[in-house]
């Protein structure tokens, strides 16, 4: 699925597919990377009234370039309001005011639980990952969750090394029994297609594929026997307008990141 053989890259079709999941007017709690690109693409195309909240406390932000960090000045300058961290987590997320939360992780299991803490043993990890951040709260309190992750046997695992954030726990209604306000992950968007939870067992099931991708490719990239929906949806390729908007956004971002910072110091220092 390289750019050489198609009109788009894996990242591009993932971003476009994620952006199409967002309804105009929804309130989104946004993370950095593909989620931020997907939300801003949606805002610039089919969902101009999308409300974006970044966990830095910038509410209703409308960046013209994608931020590198969760708290770039661009997010503050274009926000409706800037609130403190206790407020963004308590008043917005925990109080139930977020429709869609985006998550990624290093590992996911068949019930969409996520690991972003360690690979290996917690006390002596092989790889120390960044950790929880706001993911456990997003996973619990957002009305629904979208997950974006590349699908490989190392990341789609039968058993997580560490459960940082809850998806459907052990499945078959286990999450709902905890009283968690949010309904859980609605879709996992990968570089092959989309997985959705089975309505009875909560097990992630392959439900849609991108053009030119076969079921066996997705199965081979999954560390458990992947179930396939009886009616598999064929997802459309990104349309030219979406690709143009996304590439313009990314070109602007690269230019902004390459710009050197200069600080003027008072003469006496």
């Amino acid at each position: 699925m390289s750019a050489g053989t198609r009109e788009y890259t894996a990242d591009e079709i993932m971003t476009v597919t994620a952006s199409r999941q967002l309804a105009n007017g929804a309130v989104c709690f946004v993370g950095i990377g593909l989620p931020s690109a997907a939300c801003n693409l949606a805002r610039m195309t089919h969902a101009p009234d999308l409300v974006l909240i970044y966990e830095s406390g910038t509410v209703g932000t409308r960046p013209t370039v994608l931020p590198l960090s969760i708290g770039d000045g661009e997010l503050a300058q274009t926000a409706t309001a800037i609130v403190s961290l206790p407020e963004v987590f308590a008043h917005y997320l925990q109080r139930g005011r977020v429709d869609v939360g985006f998550l990624g992780a290093a590992q996911i299991d068949r019930h969409a639980n996520l690991n972003s803490t360690v690979i290996g043993d917690y006390a002596r990890p092989k790889i120390r990952l960044p950790g929880a951040g706001g993911a456990p709260e997003i996973a619990t309190f957002a009305r629904e969750v979208l997950i974006i992750m590349k699908q490989t046997p190392r990341s789609f695992v039968p058993r997580l090394d560490f459960r940082t954030s809850c998806g459907y726990l052990t499945g078959s209604g286990a999450r709902a029994a905890t009283g968690a306000p949010g309904s859980g992950p609605r879709a996992v968007i990968t570089d092959f297609g989309v997985l959705r939870p089975d309505p009875d067992t909560d097990e992630l099931t392959l439900s849609a594929l991108y053009p030119g991708i076969g079921v066996e490719t997705a199965r081979a990239a999954t560390g458990w026997p992947l179930k396939v929906a009886p009616r598999l949806e064929a997802l459309p390729a990104p349309d030219p307008a979406e690709l143009r908007a996304l590439r313009a956004l990314e070109a602007g971002t690269r230019a902004a990141q390459a710009r050197p910072v200069r600080i003027t110091l008072p003469a006496h220092t």
Binding site: G33, G73, A76, R128, G131, G134, V261
Partner: protein, 282 residues
């Protein structure tokens, strides 16, 4: 409030073994103060920060810390904090004990500390492995009114909190503008509060509800222009995303990291010299 040169403020108020919070969420990170702590060779610090960021990667790599309380330890939008990883994975340059929270929990722990509470509460739903991690001190309690489960986190009361801010006025009151993160809570939770600022002005030009820390809450203020670089100070200079990207290469190997720190932090007199040597300031 005392107006002190940064070197004197750190020497007087930051001791070996201190519980130390350098706050500022992506914005207004007190890099100049962190570098002065490294220059003065503090040891055995218990570092507290929601996002350790490059500043704690530097202090950890220089062997200044023995404990870290945090909620997300990466280089935002770039990848790993390599020095943090090396300390946790291979004990280099010394072992680092982790006390790990989620963002909401750590913000709550600061707020509890700032409010004179012994702990803070939030709704509890599903357990995660964070509850089982050895160093965790969170507990599940129940609401005395409804019986619903609550997550309780112990209050954080740093010995010293250090912030960077935009301005101090003639009377010593300090103004923060833009993304404030948990800076105010970390300030109010601390025993001592040190602040570096971009500049001193006669009078703060503020709206009525601006974030102003009254002078009598503050232990010392140091005037350090550019003191948040490579993070940023809204209204003064933007985040140096180029440097955040470059840090990945500098910090990946022990040798290049140590050489960079020796040349650009230990080998300079102060932050102004640091910025000039790197070509950030003329």
């Amino acid at each position: 409030m005392q107006l002190l040169p940064l070197k004197e403020a750190i020497a007087a108020h930051v001791r070996d073994g201190a519980r130390l919070a350098l706050e500022g969420f992506t914005h207004l990170i007190p890099f100049a103060a962190g570098h002065e702590i490294a220059r003065q060779g503090r040891r055995d610090l218990h570092l507290i920060r929601m996002t350790p960021d490059l500043i704690y990667d530097q202090l950890i790599g220089m062997g200044c810390a023995s404990r870290l309380t945090f909620s997300w330890g990466g280089n935002p939008g770039v990848g790993s904090l390599h020095r943090l990883r090396d300390a946790v994975e291979r004990d280099w340059p010394r072992p680092l004990a982790l006390i790990e929270y989620t963002h909401a929990e750590l913000a709550l722990a600061y707020q509890a500390g700032a409010s004179g509470m012994t702990c803070g509460f939030m709704p509890h739903h599903a357990d995660t492995d964070l509850d089982q991690a050895l160093t965790s001190s969170r507990r599940v309690a129940s609401c005395p009114f409804t019986g619903r489960p609550l997550t309780a986190v112990p209050a954080i009361r740093p010995d010293v909190t250090i912030l960077h801010a935009q301005q101090v006025d003639a009377a010593g009151n300090v103004l923060l503008r833009g993304i404030v993160g948990a800076a105010k809570e970390a300030a109010m939770a601390a025993e001592r509060l040190l602040i570096t600022v971009e500049e001193q002005v006669a009078r703060l030009e503020t709206d009525l509800n601006a974030v102003v820390l009254p002078s009598w809450l503050i232990t010392a203020v140091s005037i350090v222009p550019g003191g948040a670089w490579p993070s940023y100070a809204q209204g003064y200079y933007p985040r140096d995303n180029r440097f955040y990207l470059a840090w990945d290469g500098i910090a990946r190997e022990r040798g290049t990291f140590t050489a960079w720190m020796e040349r650009h932090v230990l080998g300079v007199r102060d932050h102004a010299e640091h910025l000039r040597a790197l070509g950030v300031a003329a």
